[in-house]
């Protein structure tokens, strides 16, 4: 068995999109969330088995802020890919995700990424239509609805991203 590889993955998303919930449920974490407010980043790890070898996704959970300007872009240096998280019940967070992506692309060029439209379990409040999904997918985006509560879409998204960054 070949040794495990690591990849740096950034976790980006607007305020209150459920990033922390995702991390809490699906990710190995040792550091306190206070790092997010103090240092602006918290490191977590997600290990994905990929074709007989382990891929450690080292997740840089960047402080979720709607003010894109305050994001410390230096934290993205050396990232192999990133995960955008938006709240499916609040279209404004999708806007934030789009602008985050633009910002990353400007500074670091095209990188593999996925978009998680979170809070899928709140079906009644769901606000993102199929048309928007299609638009994004046609633009080459990997978009999947997810729920930190039910786990829907989360593992798949990690596995997909791992395959793309470690392949």
């Amino acid at each position: 068995m070949s040794p495990a590889v690591q990849r740096k993955i950034c976790l980006l998303g607007g305020f209150s999109v459920g990033k922390t919930s995702l991390v809490r449920r699906f990710v190995q974490s040792v550091f306190s969330e206070t790092y997010l407010t103090t240092v602006g980043v918290k490191i977590d790890k997600k290990t994905v088995e990929l074709g007989g070898r382990s891929v450690h996704l080292i997740l840089w959970d960047l402080a979720g802020e709607d003010d894109i300007a305050s994001l410390r872009m230096s934290y993205l240096r050396g990232a192999a890919g990133y995960l955008l998280v938006a709240d499916g019940t609040r279209p404004s967070t999708l806007e934030v995700a789009l602008s985050l992506r633009r910002r990353v692309e400007t500074d670091y060029g095209p990188l593999p990424f996925s978009l998680l439209l979170n809070k899928r379990d709140l079906a009644a409040e769901w606000a993102v239509g199929e048309a928007e999904f299609d638009t994004l997918r046609r633009a080459g985006w990997r978009v999947s609805p997810s729920s930190a509560r039910t786990g829907e879409g989360v593992e798949d998204a990690f596995a997909d991203l791992a395959a793309r960054v470690a392949g």
Partner: protein
């Protein structure tokens, strides 16, 4: 082959500008060869054809191998790529074996190229030089100051201790400075973790932990460290440097940045600055040896397995605390200390003993002096200790206790005592009593005792003794004890006086001119002898001195001188006769009275017969 032939062959093989052969020369040459072999052949050079396939054949025959080599060489030289490869193969050794001129030739070109490179991208050069520069600049001023402070602190701390002294000796022995020795012994640390963190991604390249270290997932720690470094750099703009050390309680985190990877080391305890140098050296070495692998690292550690050994070497760095007295018990020191202690103890005991002896003697002495003070008839005027001797002076009644006797009882060495006593007569009742007893010789029936400030006499005594006692009482010094004789009953006409009367009434008679008693006087002599013996014992018992005088008498006939000697002889004869009857002769004295004390006056025979006698006189207390 002849010499000209050889020269010709050489010329043939020598490189020519034209590729074609000098056929004419060759033909001449061959003809010459033929002639040499067979002189009559008549071969001529002119007979050679301009083009002769046989010649080509000969050429191949003779030079086939050389032609092949030449072809290969020319191909090598003419193809620039192959030429470059060939030169590349020999260039390092060519440069290595070249003399100084090569350097002189190359230097200007290299300098020019380097300058151009730095102008276009200084970063590249910095990356290249980093591993080389770091060791050179590591002894920066800041570190020097750090070291100075560190060693100063330690020096001060240990300057005056026993351990400090030991280290000074060690420094002197090993030729190192005291500060170095102190550092060597006092810096106690252990490297617990070594992380090699990729700069760009923050991913962990390699991690080594000491055996007993505990930590979180090193992958996460590594990235968090990288994030914190980024945070610090971003937060303090203008500073290109991140954190280089953090301290948390007993732990220190030292970060050493390199061009592509950062070395982060977690240390428990107080590491010396030299460890920092060690980290830099290790990091520089890694960058020198694995530069490309480090630069291209993308999260796959498989190509960098050997880095772990370098980290393990760092993780092995530690300095154990010197356990205080365990390694090698300092026997010599202990022995000397014990010896000193022994001497001190011995001295102490001696001193204590002598002090105790001295104290004991002083105590005995003061007890003695105190006893003397209490003793009647002794008055101490001066007592003390001078020049190691005890001195005592005062007045002493001769009847008082002997101070020397008392000295022995008190346990004081008489040799150490000087005594000066003046005699005096004490008025203590006891002494007055003693003195009276000595002078009055009280009879058996009388007892003297002290009652307050009086001497009281009880019992019965003769009037004579009483008279004497009264006289003595009157002689006692005024203010002193008095003698009370009221309790003594007067014996009056006691048995002694009866005896006196009886003895004095007796007479021993003699015939005319006879010195010996007349016949029939034995009964009188016996009676008187018995009475005298009684007197003697009674007077002794009553302590009343008694004396008896025998007086011999004669009648008035015959010459006077004869009568005197006759009377004395008669007294002496009676004394002898009494002595024969057991009377103590010391009681008796004799005298002769001649005819001078006649019993009866008159010249009749009866009177004369009565006067020829020995009479007795008894003296009690010197009184008749």
């Amino acid at each position: 082959m002849s010499a000209p032939a050889a020269v010709a062959l050489e010329r043939l093989l020598a490189p020519r500008e034209e590729t074609g052969l000098d056929r004419k020369l060759l033909a001449g040459l061959l003809a010459e060869v033929a002639r040499t072999l067979e002189p009559g052949s008549g071969a001529e050079a002119s007979a050679v054809e301009p083009v002769d396939p046989r010649l080509e054949q000969l050429r191949r025959l003779l030079l086939g191998r050389e032609i092949e080599v030449l072809a290969r060489l020319s191909a090598e030289i003419e193809d620039p790529e192959r030429l470059a490869a060939a030169v590349g193969r020999v260039l390092p050794s060519a440069i290595a074996s070249s003399d100084a001129r090569l350097g002189q030739v190359l230097a200007p070109a290299l300098e020019k190229a380097t300058r151009a490179s730095i102008r276009s991208d200084p970063r590249t050069l910095i990356d290249i030089l980093h591993p080389l520069m770091v060791p050179a600049i590591r002894t920066s001023i800041g570190e020097a100051i750090d070291k100075t402070f560190q060693s100063l602190n330690e020096s001060l701390k240990h300057a005056l201790t026993w351990r400090g002294l030991k280290w000074r000796i060690e420094g002197w022995r090993t030729g190192s400075s005291f500060a170095e020795v102190v550092l060597r012994h006092t810096l106690v640390y252990q490297v617990e973790h070594v992380f090699l963190v990729h700069n760009r991604t923050g991913l962990l390249i390699s991690h080594v932990a000491s055996e007993d270290a505990v930590s979180q997932d090193p992958l996460l720690v590594s990235s968090m460290l990288a994030a914190i470094q980024d945070f610090v750099r971003d937060s303090f703009k203008g500073s290109d440097q991140g954190l280089d050390s953090l301290r948390l309680g007993d732990f220190r985190l030292w970060c050493e940045p390199g061009p592509f990877a950062m070395l982060a080391v977690v240390i428990r305890g107080s590491p010396p600055e030299e460890l920092r140098d060690k980290l830099r050296d290790a990091l520089a070495t890694m960058h020198r040896e694995r530069r490309q692998a480090l630069e291209a690292f993308d999260g796959d550690p498989s190509g960098l397995g050997d880095i772990e050994a370098a980290l393990a070497a760092i993780a092995a760095a530690r300095q154990r605390a010197e356990r205080a007295p365990r390694p090698g018990f300092p026997w010599l020191v202990a022995l000397v200390a014990l010896l000193l202690l022994g001497v001190a103890a011995w001295g102490g005991v001696r001193w204590w003993q002598s002090e105790r002896l001295r104290a004991m003697e002083a105590r005995h002495w003061s007890t003695y002096v105190e006893r003397l003070r209490q003793e009647p008839g002794i008055v101490i005027t001066e007592a003390g200790e001078r020049d190691g001797k005890f001195t005592v002076a005062g007045l002493r009644d001769p009847l008082a206790v002997d101070p020397r006797q008392l000295l022995r009882d008190a346990g004081v060495d008489p040799a150490r005592v000087e005594s000066r006593w003046q005699p005096y007569e004490g008025l203590e009742p006891e002494f007055v009593l003693k003195r009276l007893e000595a002078s009055l010789e009280p009879p058996a029936g009388v007892r003297l005792r002290v009652a307050g400030n009086r001497i009281v006499a009880d019992g019965t005594a003769s009037a004579i003794w009483l008279g004497r006692a009264r006289a003595a009482a009157r002689m006692l010094p005024a203010g002193g004890p008095t003698l009370d004789l009221a309790g003594v009953k007067n014996l009056g006409e006691g048995p002694l006086l009866v005896l006196r009367t009886a003895i004095q009434s007796a007479e021993i008679h003699f015939a005319v001119n006879a010195p010996l008693p007349s016949p029939g006087q034995d009964a009188v002599l016996d009676k008187v002898a018995a009475e005298l013996k009684q007197l003697s014992s009674l007077s002794a018992a009553m302590r009343i001195p008694a004396r008896v005088t025998l007086t011999g008498h004669s009648d008035d006939t015959g010459p006077g001188t004869l009568n005197l000697s006759l009377s004395l002889a008669r007294a002496g004869a009676v004394l002898v006769l009494l002595k024969k009857r057991g009377v103590d002769p010391d009681l008796i004295s004799v005298q002769g009275a001649g005819p001078l004390e006649p019993l009866e006056a008159g010249g009749s025979e009866t009177a004369r017969s009565a006067n020829r006698r020995v009479s007795f006189a008894v003296w009690l207390e010197g009184q008749p």
